[in-house]
């Protein structure tokens, strides 16, 4: 029997007022819950999960030291994947997974209560879409360009059915007939709205800067649908001034011409094409259940392997199993992981975040990034953190779940979008109301079996 000796980190508790973002209890507010339990290996532990809640004493290097210490003291090999943790979630304590294995939340920058009076009023007050000063048509090379297709920005299922059943002429006739009826918001809609919120804040601080989010509607719809799309954009007060309606030809060339940083589409083939061209892309799906997300802070969550990082470790896991995976990660702790398709987008987010930090708005930054990975903090997680650090990328919160289901965690975080390479996780997240986007990259695609056949097309 191995006794795990973990000294809880001595940190000062910072009083953080609850975020009004709709969370009942945000993760960083959890008090250290002490639970005694016997895990699968029959070890009774009386360990507090380590949760770090103080901003001032948490630095990335502290995270590393913490994780490194844990890896040294821990002598057991971790049990397989997510099944031991099923019980924890069934017990209903969805906030914290308290088990003998620890989770480390590295909080570089805990969210602070947002001033509802200020920025958000400006945003909602922008009903008339007046140009209040600031750059509104940034050059594509300076801006972070996000291309969305009409099928993810709006709900077009009805029209899709008309197209599939009655052909393109009837589809266009239908669209023109309903030209003055705006579409309803689709899965990418809250994300796009959040991007605009960030833009408003950026323009306040840097009125001359072109380093903004630039949203481009890229659709292979025919221009006959153009008027309905433009009407819908105006109706929802979206600030989308650029678009490409390619009338049936592939939009991939235009993505490159726009220097797109991220492409969101409902069509997995187009997303794969974009990924092959080196453009970060993901497939989005419509979910019936959507949890409320923040209107003042953009939250983007990423999976680690095959999204931010390459799928090399995933390959080892799939080929040789969990033990070999851990061994490999430990042996290669100091070797950087190769980059994955979404690394560039995280980089772009980080650059914009730094602009807020430069103006003393670190605590009030309207962009927040999350790493939600099945890696475990003590062992395989270190390599991930070291890689991020070597890349100079800062991520606000890193959640190492050691195989636990991601859905409940994501439900707590409430990201506007969550990127994962495995359909299993995407569906799990969607079931709990998180907007999840699938990145069809890496070895996991061979094993991907979506539960709902023909989920969207």
């Amino acid at each position: 029997m191995v006794k795990m000796s973990l000294d809880p980190v001595q940190v000062k508790e910072l009083n953080v007022s609850p975020s009004p973002n709709g969370d009942s209890r945000a993760s960083w507010e959890e008090e250290e819950v002490e639970e005694e339990e016997e895990d699968r290996l029959g070890i009774a532990t009386k360990t507090k999960p380590v949760s770090v809640t103080d901003l001032s004493s948490v630095s990335p290097s502290l995270c590393f030291r913490l994780a490194a210490r844990m890896s040294r003291t821990q002598k057991l090999s971790l049990p397989d994947s997510r099944f031991p943790f099923q019980e924890a979630s069934d017990r209903g304590s969805s906030e914290l997974f308290t088990t003998s294995l620890f989770k480390v939340w590295c909080l570089r920058c805990p969210p602070v209560a947002h001033q509802w009076g200020g920025a958000s009023d400006k945003v909602t007050g922008r009903r008339a879409r007046k140009v209040e000063g600031g750059v509104f048509f940034p050059k594509p090379e300076n801006a972070v360009t996000v291309a969305v297709s009409s099928r993810v920005l709006f709900r077009t299922e009805l029209e899709q059915r008309v197209f599939e059943q009655k052909g393109v002429e009837e589809y266009l006739r239908y669209q023109i007939e309903h030209e003055n009826e705006p579409f309803a918001p689709g899965p990418a809609f809250p994300f796009v709205k959040a991007l605009e919120t960030v833009n408003a804040r950026l323009r306040e601080l840097y009125p001359q800067s072109e380093e903004l989010f630039d949203i481009v509607l890229v659709t292979y719809n025919h221009a006959h649908v153009g008027i309905r799309l433009i009407n819908t954009i105006n109706h929802h007060n979206l600030f989308i001034e650029r678009f490409c309606m390619t009338g049936g030809s592939s939009p991939i060339g235009y993505l490159k011409a726009w220097q797109t940083n991220l492409y969101l589409s409902a069509d997995a083939d187009k997303v794969r094409e974009a990924l092959a061209e080196g453009i970060a892309a993901a497939t989005m799906f419509m979910t019936e259940k959507l949890t409320e997300v923040s209107e003042s802070q953009l939250r983007v969550a990423f999976d680690g392997d095959a999204v931010l990082f390459s799928d090399e470790s995933e390959r080892i896991f799939k080929a040789h199993g969990l033990d070999k995976f851990f061994q490999h990660e430990q042996d290669n702790e100091d070797t950087l992981l190769d980059h994955g398709p979404l690394k560039g987008f995280l980089e772009a987010l980080g650059k914009l975040q730094k602009k807020f930090y430069a103006k003393g708005q670190r605590l009030d930054c309207p962009i927040r990034t999350y790493l939600v990975t099945a890696r475990s903090a003590a062992s395989s997680g270190i390599r991930a953190l070291k890689t991020l650090r070597a890349w100079g990328l800062e991520i606000d919160e890193a959640l190492f779940l050691a195989g636990a289901p991601k859905g409940p965690m994501l439900e707590k975080i409430r990201p506007h979008i969550y990127f994962d390479d495995q359909m299993f996780h995407v569906e799990g997240a969607a079931e709990m109301g998180t907007v999840a986007a699938h990145v069809p990259y890496g070895v996991a695609q061979k094993h991907n079996q979506p539960q709902k056949p023909g989920a969207r097309k």
Partner: protein
């Protein structure tokens, strides 16, 4: 309907021919066709060479015309030319200022499936700019005829594609352009709203045969 070209740009002519062929397929009695007139202003170009080259490439040119530079505009008017195509920017400008619609030919690297006509939306939404371009009236009537022609074909597989590009306005102005064109009977196949983004990369993807707008617009930005 007549078009004029002074250059051996075979792809444009072949695409025009294809449109004619398809129109006649649909309706052998079709009268709304492209009629191509080749004008040579360079006195050094030998008439016989031009005629033989044309037949060598299998191009159906309606008429040949040999004119001097000074008389070019007159020749065009006399022949009831609705659109003048050229690769010479100065020539095209000169013609346009006299009220005849003219456009620069785009460089075609590969043969295209259809005749791609690009319309510049900014001109359409600026109805009362001062001074009103001389060729404005000609542009409007040409686009109406073009719309009629486009309407003969279905949405997909058309040998004629209409592409709308707005360079400077936002999405609202592009919407206005679409509606204006529709009211003139011209429905657009593809629409691109650049809102200030550089045109070059997008234009090189679009590969239009020529661009219609106010005055003469360069296709290579």
């Amino acid at each position: 309907m007549e078009m004029v070209s002074t250059v051996q740009n075979t792809d444009v002519k072949q695409s025009l021919q294809k449109v004619n062929e398809r129109l006649l397929e649909k309706n052998p009695a079709e009268s709304l066709l492209f009629d191509v007139v080749l004008i040579a202003t360079d006195s050094q170009q030998q008439s016989s060479r031009i005629i033989s080259s044309t037949s060598h490439y299998g191009l159906e040119v309606g008429r040949f015309c040999f004119s001097s530079r000074e008389d070019l505009v007159e020749t065009l008017v006399v022949n009831n030319v609705q659109l003048f195509l050229s690769t010479d920017r100065d020539e095209a400008l000169q013609v346009s200022q006299k009220g005849v619609l003219s456009a620069l030919l785009g460089r075609q690297e590969a043969p295209s499936e259809s005749l791609r006509v690009m319309l510049c939306g900014d001109a359409i939404v600026r109805p009362d700019c001062d001074p009103v371009p001389a060729s404005r009236g000609a542009a409007q009537s040409f686009s109406a005829r073009l719309g009629e022609m486009r309407g003969r074909f279905g949405v997909s597989g058309s040998p004629l594609s209409i592409v709308l590009v707005t360079s400077s306005g936002g999405s609202k102005s592009c919407g206005v352009a679409l509606q204006t064109l529709r009211s003139r009977g011209l429905s657009v196949d593809e629409a691109y709203c650049l809102a200030g983004a550089p045109r070059g990369p997008i234009l090189s993807l679009l590969r239009p045969h020529f661009l219609l707008g106010d005055g003469v617009i360069d296709l290579e930005d």
